[in-house]
Amino acid sequence: MTDMADTAQMQTDVAGALRTPDGRPLKQALAQAERRAKIRAFLLVLPLLAFVLLTFIIPIGQMLSRSVLNDTFSANMPALTEWFRENPGAQPDEAAFEALVLDLRVARESRTQGAVGTRINYEVPGTRSLFTGTARRVDSLEPPFREAVLDVDENWARRDLWAAMRSAAQPVTLNFYQAAVDRKISPEGRFQRADDQSRIYVKLFIRTFLLSLVITGLCLILGFPVAHLLAVLPMRKASLLLILVLLPFWTSLLVRTTSWMVLLQGQGVINNTLVALGILSDDGRLAMMYNQTGTIIAMTHILLPFMILPLYSVMKTIPPSYARAARSLGATSWTTFRRIYVPQTVPGIGAGAILVFILAVGYYITPALVGGATGTLISNQIAFHMLSSLNWSLAAALAAMLLAAVLVLYWVYDRIVGIDNMKLG
């Protein structure tokens, strides 16, 4: 009896770590026993891991690097870049202009003068033509180059232009982030606010976050009762209602947005009905589109299911006995709602709110179609820089800031509500 107990018992070595009867450390034995299962589990998630890496991590990394890395100037204007490196802080001399002419000659042959001009144009508006125009005549220029270049265009003497070129010569730059927060470096090297008319991004960021907050709030107010109804209705009716909630998901986003346009426009269904009923005069038609109202209405509708579903999944798990218990303890229905029901739905409110808010902050199609001038969001500006102005670095900087802001909000949410409290369904 004692012998058996001894052999069956785990042996303990000097350090106090457990060992198996044949003397191997227990941890090692455990790792070996579970290795196969772990490898199998890893192989199962491998495809998804590869997919996420390829389609999510790498593009985001690229975007982030593009926002600080732009070698258009340094790659295409090597001589001038070299001069900037050798003469820190110096004003352009003859050598600098010689380097400029040399670079422009090469650029003309490889047809990159436009790209370089565009790069400097980001910093000093209206200078793209300076590069393309000068490059056309660069072959005929003779020394002394300073006079010759200034002869072609006296704008080449501008100090802000040379400051811009100097900063563009560095491939790693924070210029785009400066631009994204409406700041610029003055020719004297001071950090200052951009001119009034080019100060748009901060305002747009603020508008984006404010509108997203309003949309999230509206989704919560509208979605809460619906989710509650879904949770308390008998199964058959609830699933019918759930289909109605999910119906928008099965319709194209574009179709939903354009149908809002049909409803909201000046000659649209709502205005026509109100005029026909005599509530509005014909000249008093409401402007519900191409402004913030349009963006709010359409986006609230589109994002509503993202609020309802997490709320519903949480509410379904709250047994009605809690409300009954509260009532039997003497609470009015309002107190019961406020102190017993709502606190228990917080995980759903948190999940729904953060989902809707993050989606709203990055929303693009709907504000582009119904937003007009005052209802567009930062995403529309990002798209503009991606598709029209081709300033990808600025687009990347704006997107990175959006990403950072969302991550900060996520962190704040975690501190206040707790991520593990969130229930997405």
Binding site: A325, R327, S328, A331, T335
Partner: protein, 369 residues
């Protein structure tokens, strides 16, 4: 059959009916009076209407017809939060986002009670259920039995005169359940509160209650103290629902001197006490408790009818022996004997004769099937 007419009833149901769909009645013409301080249990199978009655009393369901009175006042139209009735729910319904102390504080806060007064009452209530050290914990950190105690304390903390309990011990294991049965009964009697307790567990009903109302089919089948209910069931439903029972079908042959002679379907005769059979020729279901059957010939009263039986199975259960017999063409006749030193252990296949005192065997109505 009907509620006893108690003067100064504390809780009173008068001709109460309840229907959920307008087609069928869940509660049919319920009359019930509960005097102050009584521990009344509503016992019945699921769907018998007992929980509906409790919910009507609590105010979560409205009676379709009839009056429910509390201290003589009709309460049909008083919302639940103004009734001042404590309630313990099946799954305790402790608010998960509040600590134990906050849970207990809730009913006092909604009554606008001051902080110091609240704290005193919470302390007393928690001490009462021996949970004084748990005030700062969350419900999820407690075991089922502890949650049960807290739920009880919360239902009592605002000092209601009436407490309703809806199968409160259903989720506990057997040992804990028995302990809590004992504690709840003691607490209720010590505080002098009136308790209405709903359960489908007949042992629970018998051990805890002053009176038990047996529900079936939306009606009270019998309302009586536990011993009376067990020993003198008024109809075949009660007899079969409470405790274990042997039943035999037959026809009444004669009724004389308070003893009915019943002819079983295979022609054998037995003695029984007529309960709700009236005249010879009535079909009847006779019921006899397994522990009242005697097979020791010397202990049987002379002159009583006996039945031939064959032992089918002997089961040793520790404190008792349970023997299954073949009697009158059926093989599910059970007798229970105490495991005493002189007790004989019957062997399967053994032929014996069984009998009983006529008053232990009750001739009841034959349930319609």
């Amino acid at each position: 059959m009907s509620g006893t007419s108690v003067r100064d009833a504390f809780v009173e149901f008068e001709r109460v009916q309840k229907s959920y769909d307008g087609e069928t009645l869940v509660v049919k013409d319920l009359n019930l009076s509960i005097p102050k301080g009584e521990f009344l249990t509503m016992l019945g199978p699921s769907g018998s209407g007992k929980t509906t009655c409790l919910m009507m009393l609590a105010g979560f369901e409205t009676a379709t017809h009839g009056d429910i009175r509390l201290e003589g006042r009709p309460i049909n139209h008083i919302p639940p939060h103004k009734r001042g009735i404590g309630m313990v729910f099946q799954n305790y319904a402790l608010f998960p986002h509040m600590t134990i102390a906050e849970n207990l504080s809730f009913p006092l806060e909604v009554r606008g009670m001051g902080k110091s007064e609240r704290e005193g009452k919470i302390r007393r209530a928690l001490d009462m259920v021996e949970m004084g050290d748990f005030g700062g914990r969350r419900p999820a950190q407690l075991s089922g039995g502890q949650q049960q105690r807290v739920a009880l304390a919360r239902a009592l903390v605002f000092e209601p005169e009436l407490v309703l309990m809806d199968e409160p011990l259903g989720a506990l294991d057997k040992q804990l359940r028995e302990k809590m049965q004992f504690e709840i009964t003691h607490l209720a009697h010590n505080l002098g509160i009136t308790t209405v307790y709903v359960t489908h567990d007949q042992t629970e009903a018998l051990t805890m209650s002053d009176r038990v109302a047996v529900f079936n089919d939306g009606k009270i089948q019998q309302i009586a103290p536990p011993d009376e209910l067990y020993e003198s069931p008024q109809n075949s439903f009660v007899a079969q629902f409470i405790g274990e029972n042997n039943t035999l079908e037959g026809t009444v042959k004669e009724i004389k001197d308070g003893v009915a002679v019943v002819e079983l379907d295979d022609g054998e005769l037995i003695d029984a006490k007529p309960v709700n059979v009236e005249r010879p020729g009535d079909r009847t279901l006779v019921s006899i408790r397994p522990e009242r059957v005697e097979f020791n010939r010397e202990r049987l009263r002379a002159g009583v009818h006996t039945l031939k039986a064959e032992v089918a199975e002997f089961i040793y259960m520790g404190d008792i022996f349970r023997t299954r017999l073949k009697v009158a063409g059926r093989d599910d006749f059970i007798i229970k004997t105490r495991n005493a030193p002189d007790q004989r252990r019957l062997q399967p296949g053994e032929e014996i004769e069984i009998g009983w005192l006529p008053e232990d065997c009750r001739a009841l109505d034959l349930p319609t099937r």
